[in-house]
Amino acid sequence: MKRYSGFGLVKHAMSHHENWERQWRNPTPKKQYDVIIVGGGGHGLATAYYLAKVHGITNVAVIEKGWLGGGNTARNTTIVRSNYLWDEAAALFEHSMKLWEGLSQDLNYNVMFSQRGVLNLGHTLQDMRDIQRRVNANRLNGIDGEVLDAKGVQDIVPILDCSKNARYPVMGASWQPRAGVARHDAVAWGYARAADSMGVDLLQNTEVTGFKIRDGRVHGVHTNRGDIEAKTVGCVAAGNSGVLAKMAGFKLPLESHPLQALVSEPLKPILDTVVMSNHVHGYVSQSDKGDLVIGAGIDGYVGYGQRGSYTTIEHTLQAIVEMFPIFSRVRMNRQWGGIVDTCPDASPIISATPVKGMFFNCGWGTGGFKAIPGSGHVFAATLAKNEAHPIAAPFSIDRFNSGALVDEHGAAGVAH
């Protein structure tokens, strides 16, 4: 892999950009791999990268039915934060945050990780109690954050309506300065290029149609391009995890819901941080291109259509205009939807399964993007060693039998 640099850019300009090399190959599937990753999104590609880089396992295929990074990696609102409440979740997301810091250099691909800070607003006394609790827990877990009052919030975001006239006036917020946003597509591409350069085969337009399972153990996958063998298979296919599990003969405690997002037209810089409100129910940041990137909650029904109901879009913009009345005349350019796999406790599954050699990494719900580096890192370790990485261990499927849930619903109180 030829490293990217400003100098290289100048050199390529001199030769009219005729000599750029491919960022990844388009290989023909081999008959057999050590590890197959099903799903070429951010999580799957990161898993492949860390398998190769950390564990030296390079005979790896990432099987993707569409295009790399084409699922929720391409559809999210790019927020990265680690201020989760419970120790288990905080450890996982902070592990990820540490990998984000330095990811561009590690991958030699600018993922534009912008640590511009995230505000989680509180609008009721109970919101503020929850915020204090979460920030106190974060602090003792070594995660940055502070509790701000309404004035502190106003100082950071002067255009936010912090007046008493709001239906639910802002009472304060949690503030995580290290949090921020990143360029979502670049994350997939950066991992893809780096993994490919170490020998990982990225098989696009290749759809898994079934698993080869004998005596309770996985031996490979059936695909539309033929059978491919592997003794270890990791499924990382958000939105379709339930479908894959069904092919393998078991059920996962997941529901698949549409999750929508939208963007405004590009604007000159107006909002320099990420503002999230669970109570008024919307969140917004401004991309480097200038779009306001906006999201809210999932659609209530289950389904596999990558679009949702219009009322959700209306409610979301009502929340945004309620928080930022000056945006009323800003125009919405585009809305879209993805499919999120949600677990009953709003925490992911990173786990072995009833089929030996088969592992699942799924159930990230509405918040998987921020976890990509950490998720890939611990899942790679889990696949390489055939036992759960300590950070992944609490996220085993067994917790739904034992009851040891990591319930981020009520506690963290933030939808994303």
Binding site: D87, G142, E265, G305, E314, V321, I326, L405
Partner: protein, 1015 residues
């Protein structure tokens, strides 16, 4: 300024009404009926913007929704700014103020343009992924400057003065687009009496007929348009919505229409007939049948320097000439691959300006229009194309050469023609955006060659969107679509009411496939050939992207930003796909399209939000006693949607009490004398039916089999994971009749929960739930003197301690009003909860105060309620619990009926290994070692304060107050294994560096034998 490009005659503008407007600080004139773009062109304004990445000068390219360049910042005042308005879609009005969105110091002389010129070659697609990485700490600085350079217009910084409405509409036929086929369809359906909505995004209806050269019934086409509209406007069953864009097409024929009511008049909604108006309306339409008559967008050809001002799409030039009487130049070269575009040259010629040449990519063009051009002695250069435009701020010439489109090669010598305008036409793409919103994929039609709409249930495409472009077909498809749709809907009335008008067919030859025009140099070495003007995406960018492995069209889009603009690629997408297909050696349908999503054109947030902001964002709920609270100076707390009195500060010696002072006074009043709380907001659910008792047994953890009429019981409700969800008392009103209470915030959720279980799991149970929260006002009279006061206001209720026991309820009269009285207590004191029909509540409340004054009756709010219950260790679901707490964690195992016969909700979960762990976080009291300390709610608890980060946290403070009665801080908390840790010391390390010490104690701080409530 003179309107140098305005023709003396012609166009649909009203020359009697001259309008003055300001653009970039300069005053210009135009006419009623102009768009801002046509007025700018009339005034000879060439440069209307600077491009996003390279800061190149850009002019108006199109005449409608597909315009990528002419974006303006509109608005005369700060609060009425609208960013990124397309000048081609903005009607001119007197006093309009607009600015170009980019350009510094101004759009004519732009310094960034230098950067674009010099640095352009260092900005291939995705260059930012390959640089700005070192040193890592610099990214935030780089980003600051990248952000400054990006963006288009700016957000207003003051609040929007306007309002927006939502309308809910139903119709039999929704016709989207009022061109020839749309009008025909609407007329046919309208005459047959069904409910019709016809909408069109433009200022005037008529679509392509507004600049058509064809005659209809031997009259100008505009005559047929106005006759048709006249008839439609007279039909009661037809709603005609002009200036109305169908911007989103959702499942089940749900279409959203954005009707702009006032944007053609002024930059804010002005009153009409003395009444305030909304700025725009959003129609949420459910249509039985959608008639998609959205027409086509013309594709420009992709050649070198095709972005220099003076390059336009051919059809736009026809629009400007025929609709607005504007010729945007003096000498024209037309580059085309089809007959249709010859109209532009004919129109230009008729306007008295020079047509230098028609350059036709086809070797031997034939057809009526070609013949007409030949007859006018217009030079036609066949088998050729414009391969490069000349000029910087305005076109000065066109390089023309013979080409072989299939081999993608220039085959002849290059000739440079002098001209100031280049029109190009690469064919016509049906507007498939709306149909694609539904999830259906557009289908490739190799004849036109372009995509046509995929199939959508309940939708019929008509007219040119089907890929058949002649006028006669437009009328015929429209009529048969309506006949078919109404027949399908069971309408058998005569279908031949409406006949297609007579049109003289114009014979057109087939077009040839041409997207990117070959150049003498390779794509990477030729001058820039723009595909997506707004995002500065060039053919070379697409080639580089595919060389780098971005082969999926979605990857190409995301890597190059093709189609990412506010026009969502209306001009550029098909060309971009065609270029990718050529380089990848695939067919265009193999490459496929990206997904079109709503909105078709951008819609303001305000219009989508409607009235549901500010006061109407979420209903505010008030109790029947709210006015009294306001009059008595209450501070309010938001609890769910309710406004609840938080505390009642008194003003003593001119000084208003603080929260702490008021709460201390209120608490002492209850503990020592008597207080009253408006508890009306607690959820109340009336449960009736033969199986009501059985149902309670299943949703509550405790037993309900033996609760007799007249008795009340506290119940715990768990989710199926065994975690506490809500709590409250339920009273047995009669054998099959119960009244359940819930927390204030949980009321709606609990009712929904009950319905879900009843409707989905236990439909066999005969039971009914009714929310009666608002029907009853609830007043809690509590304190040692509560009975004395009650005796004064009731005559028919025996209040004796023995005959009206704790956890009894009775019917009677209070202050002369029928009431239900419940002897339950959330304060630990003697308490009566009086339920009064809400309409009579104020009378009772006032009489209670009238009689209670001598006892010192003190109103108290939610904060005092919290302190009083905390002194007694009573939980608040949602504050002391968080969805991870079981009844046993709370020490409430007495309220769990493990031996109940039915598998109640949560029972199985409560028997899992994790829920029976001994070291679960358990509910306890905390006594700060320093009595004056009030611990922070949410403070985390550790056993060893000296450990390093990350610390092992064993729990947290859920509630914490200063107890005036106990004269110390008290707290409730959950602590790992807390029930077995009574008397142990724990530590609370705080953000300010302080570490508080506290002792684990019973959560019941006061009256552990519960005697006070039984006096």
């Amino acid at each position: 300024m003179t309107q140098q490009n305005r023709l003396a005659n012609g166009g649909l503008i009203d020359r009697k009404r001259q309008l003055t407007f300001t653009y970039n600080g300069k005053r210009y004139t135009g006419y009623e009926g102009d768009t801002l773009a046509s007025a700018l062109l009339a005034n000879g304004v060439d440069i209307v913007n600077r491009s996003f990445k390279y800061s190149r000068p850009r002019g108006v390219v199109a005449a409608g929704a597909e315009e990528p360049n002419a974006l303006v910042q509109l608005g005369a005042t700060e609060s009425t700014q609208v960013p990124n308005v397309r000048a081609t879609q903005q009607a001119l009005y007197e006093g309009l103020v607009a600015k170009s969105t980019n350009g510094w110091p101004n759009v004519q002389r732009d310094l960034m343009g230098m950067v674009g010129k010099m640095g352009g070659s260092f900005m291939p697609p995705g260059f930012y992924y390959k640089t700005f990485m070192a040193p890592a700490s610099m990214w935030m600085t780089y980003e600051k400057y990248i952000r400054k350079g990006a963006g288009l217009g700016r957000s207003p910084t003051e609040n929007d003065p306007d309002t927006y409405d939502h309308l809910h509409q139903h119709c039999d036929v929704l016709v989207i687009g009022a061109g020839p086929s749309g009008l025909m369809a609407a007329l046919s359906a309208g005459r047959r009496g069904v409910r019709v909505i016809l909408c069109d995004e433009q200022e005037e209806m008529g679509g392509s007929l507004l600049d058509s050269r064809e005659l209809i019934n031997s009259q100008p086409a505009t005559r047929w348009v106005s006759d048709t509209l006249d008839e439609l406007n007279q039909l009661d069953n037809v709603t005609v919505l002009s200036r109305t864009t169908a911007h989103g097409y959702h499942d089940h024929n749900f279409v959203t229409l954005h009707e702009r009511r006032t944007e053609h008049i002024w930059d804010r909604a002005t009153p009409a007939n003395g009444r305030p108006q909304v700025r725009s309306r959003l129609h949420r339409v459910r249509a039985k049948r959608v008639i998609l008559a959205t027409g086509t967008h013309e594709r420009p050809l992709v050649y070198a320097n095709n972005d220099v001002p003076g390059n336009m799409i051919a059809g736009a030039i026809s629009s400007y000439i025929r609709r607005y009487g504007v010729v945007p130049g003096n000498s024209l070269v037309l580059s085309t691959n089809n007959d249709h575009a010859y109209r532009t040259a004919l129109n230009w010629h008729e306007a008295g300006r020079k047509v230098v040449a028609i350059v036709d990519a086809r070797p031997s063009p034939k057809g009526t229009l070609v013949d007409q051009a030949r007859a006018l002695d217009i030079r036609i250069i066949s088998g050729s194309a414009v391969i490069e435009g000349k000029g910087t701020n305005r076109v000065s010439g066109a390089c023309v050469a013979a080409i072989d489109p299939a081999a993608f090669k220039v085959t002849g010598k290059v000739e440079e023609l002098e001209c100031d305008t280049i029109a190009s036409s690469g064919g016509y793409s049906p507007v498939v955006h709306l149909s694609s919103h539904t999830g259906t994929r557009p289908q490739w039609n190799s004849e036109i060659p372009a995509f046509v709409p995929g199939e959508v249930k309940g939708m019929t495409p008509v007219g040119s969107v089907t890929g058949v472009f002649d006028l006669k077909t437009a009328f015929d498809t429209a009529l048969s679509a309506i006949d078919h749709a109404l027949e399908e809907a069971g309408d058998t009335s005569s279908s031949k009411v409406t006949e297609a008008p007579q049109v003289d067919a114009i014979q057109e030859g087939p077009c040839c496939a041409l997207y990117q025009v070959p150049h003498t140099k390779t794509t990477l070495r030729a001058p820039k050939q723009f595909v997506d003007f707004q995002n500065d995406v060039t053919a070379s960018a697409i080639e580089i992207a595919t060389r780098e492995g971005f082969e999926s069209i979605e990857h190409v889009k995301r890597y190059t930003a093709l189609g990412f603009g506010t026009d969502q690629g209306k001009l550029g997408n098909i060309n971009g796909m065609a270029i990718a297909a050529r380089i990848l050696n695939r067919s265009i349908p193999e490459v496929g399209t990206t997904v079109f999503r709503p909105n078709y054109t951008p819609v303001t947030f305000g219009a989508i939000a409607g009235r549901h902001c500010r006061d109407l964002f979420d209903p505010e709920r008030y109790t029947a006693l709210h006015q009294w609270h306001v009059e008595h100076g209450a501070e309010f707390e938001d609890v769910g949607q309710w406004k609840r009195p938080w505390y009642f500060p008194k003003t003593v010696n001119g000084k208003k009490e603080t929260l702490d002072e008021a709460v201390a006074r209120e608490c002492l009043a209850v503990r020592e004398k008597i207080g009253i709380l408006d508890a009306s907001t607690l959820g109340k659910i009336d449960i009736q039916g033969p199986d009501a008792r059985e149902f309670l047994n299943r949703v509550y953890t405790n037993k309900w089999a033996k609760l007799a009429p007249g008795r009340v019981r506290y119940g715990l409700m768990c989710k199926d994971d065994g975690m506490l969800m809500d709590d409250g008392t339920t009273s047995c009103l009669a054998e099959n009749h119960f009244l359940m209470t819930t927390t204030t915030g949980g009321a709606a959720g609990v009712l929904e929960w009950l319905e879900v279980w009843h409707q989905t799991e236990w439909p066999e149970l005969d039971v009914y739930f009714t929310s009666v929260t608002d029907h009853w006002a609830t007043m809690t009279v509590t304190g040692p003197d509560a009975r004395k006061l009650m005796e004064e206001v009731t005559t028919d209720v025996d209040l004796d301690r023995e005959s009206f026991k704790f956890m009894d309820w009775k019917e009677g009269t209070v202050a002369g009003v029928p009431a239900r009285i419940f002897r339950i207590s959330f304060t630990g004191e003697l308490a009566y909860e009086i339920n009064i029909q809400a309409n009579y509540a104020m009378k009772v409340w006032l009489e209670l105060f009238d009689k209670g004054e001598k006892y010192g009756l003190t109103p108290y709010g939610t904060e005092t309620m919290h302190v009083l219950r905390a002194e007694k260790g009573l939980i608040i679901a949602g504050q002391d619990t968080d969805g991870s707490v079981t009844p046993e964690d709370l020490g409430l195992q007495w309220a769990v009926g493990y031996d109940k016969p039915f598998e109640w909700i949560g029972k199985r979960a409560l028997t899992r290994p994790d829920t029976s762990r001994k070291d679960r976080k358990q509910f306890v009291g905390l006594k700060p070692k320093d009595a004056n300390v009030v611990l922070e709610e949410g403070a985390q608890i550790v056993l060893d304060p000296n450990q390093s980060i990350p610390m092992a946290m064993v729990g947290h403070v859920t509630s914490s107050y200063y107890s005036a009665h106990l004269k110390r801080g008290i707290a409730l908390a959950v602590v790992k294994g807390g029930h077995e840790r009574m008397g142990e010391t724990v530590y609370l390390p705080m953000a300010d560096g302080k570490v508080h010490e506290a002792e684990i104690v019973s959560p019941v701080f006061l009256d552990p034998k519960w005697e006070r409530q039984n006096v």
